[in-house]
Symmetry: C4
Subunit: 177 residues, 4 copies
């Protein structure tokens, strides 16, 4: 009843979205994939992540999906986010072309900075693309309540993007001896 | 084995209820609903919420169910509640007729205020109805222990009212390749 | 596939036990039971609890199961336990014969008191039985680490003893439309 | 559909690994096993644990799996880890030959010590083997973010290694009355 093949990780979508004046931000967990070895052992194949998607505003309550940019938080980056106190800031750097011939050409940085008055955070994504000679920036102000949802939802999702929910649930699916 | 149609979100009920002298308060999670697109993609249709129901007392340990008033906390409002410290207060405003011709006629406000001595909170709902020319107020004193149950239960329920439990569990329901 | 009748809540047992010099303490979640109304609605029938069982020591690493005493923490009492800080204490009183003709004859009190040096807690149960003219006391010193397990396990179990796991999982069991 | 026999606890593997200059550390939950008594009761047979595996580095990003050493954290030791504040340290001692004729010959100690500047922890395993006259030491510096992942993942896994997930899920598997 539990099948690995044909599994499409994006069949169900329920992003947590924060719509603000200049841009929108949405969070969606991406599950890991697994591979079955010839030994029968099932091992993690591709790591899961917490996908953050930014879209620029193009009018009142309208956002341009075509111009979206994404940033996939790793388990450790999610750990950084959920351990942030009200005055902490975080910054993460990704190179989507790492290990390819285009390494260093595109640089993405995500920063989370607290408001001076402690009422929330600024979550910003900057994408510098040397090939297209472009530089894009998205900044979404996030309230304390919205950040609490992000933290609680990320804490819930973390074991899932690590694949630990599969490890802990396997006992219900044992074969007969 | 997992069917969308015919799904009734209120089949099982297990509210957490707090009965006090002048009113009672109960919490119950309301799950989101999903729709299957022609592409096969399943997307969130109606958002979930944490339903708070208030009832006035009409005698010793008797409450008037007919006179109940409800307030559906959104995911972000739940985030606000679970991030409250012992001295914090919160206030939320809802207009049940928003976007209709009756907009502004009924105003609901929910407030959570800490006791001066730190032993708990006052949770109050005020409903002002300009059409009926009525104003109702319910106030339930909540102890630290009861508020801890509310926070733990809301933290547990939050990913479910966001629909993230479906996203993280979909892997167990993949089709065969 | 999900059946109410014939359900025995104690089929699987995995208590968390703390064995100390004079007594042992074990924790075990007790699930609520549900009843199906003629309307098809399923409602909570008997509340769940966190069962604490104390046994006196009768030799080195030997405990007398026959002389055990139990104390069933309600959801709100669990909320009190999981919100305790390192210097907080709690005390709960139960009358197992409440609302019967023996009301007031047996009095159980559970107390949780912090060590003066902050290295843990004393968890004590006192049972005074006026009918048997007996008074029993069990005290188990609990370390910070053991108390952290109790808090984490109780936080995990709380939505289950409230029956909220059933509410949030019902969507996977919908009927076909 | 839920079978006890033939159940192999290590079929799915998804360790959380931290690779550093001199050694690597990985965490993997090990589930408990259960036995069915003739009474029909199912009881915990072998306790679960959080397995920590250390490997020495033998080159850049290369680690020697053959020279790995393991340390199985009990539920209470996991409780100690997840309750650690930023300035706390912990130390655990295991004797893998305890209760055998080799008792005291091999001594394992795991220590978690905070960096002086509060930016993380040193996680170290020392294995002293009097029979082989060997002494091995592994030290892995762990950042605040990595430790947050360890704490969140251990909090998630704790009820599972205690077997409480089985207790709370048994209601969905009741027999027909």
């Amino acid at each position: 009843l539990w099948r690995l093949r044909g599994y499409t990780s994006d069949r169900i979508s329920a992003p947590y979205s924060i719509y603000k004046g200049k841009a929108a931000l949405s969070l969606n967990p991406c599950l890991p994939t697994f591979t079955k070895l010839t030994s029968g052992m099932i091992v993690l194949d591709r790591r899961g992540s917490m996908m953050m998607t930014f879209m620029p505003a193009i009018g009142e309550r309208k956002y341009d999906w075509e111009k979206r940019q994404r940033f996939a938080l790793s388990a450790t980056e999610v750990g950084s986010l959920i351990s942030m106190g009200p005055k902490d800031s975080s910054e993460f750097f990704h190179d989507p072309s790492m290990l390819s011939s285009n390494a260093g050409q595109v640089r993405k940085s995500l920063s989370i900075k607290p408001h001076a008055d402690g009422t929330g955070y600024f979550v910003s994504l900057t994408v510098v693309n040397n090939i297209l000679r472009s530089r894009e920036n998205f900044t979404v102000p996030v309230t304390i309540a919205e950040f609490a949802v992000m933290k609680t939802a990320c804490s819930f999702a973390l074991p899932h993007i690590m694949g630990w929910d599969r490890v802990t649930h396997q006992q219900y699916r044992g074969t007969v001896g």
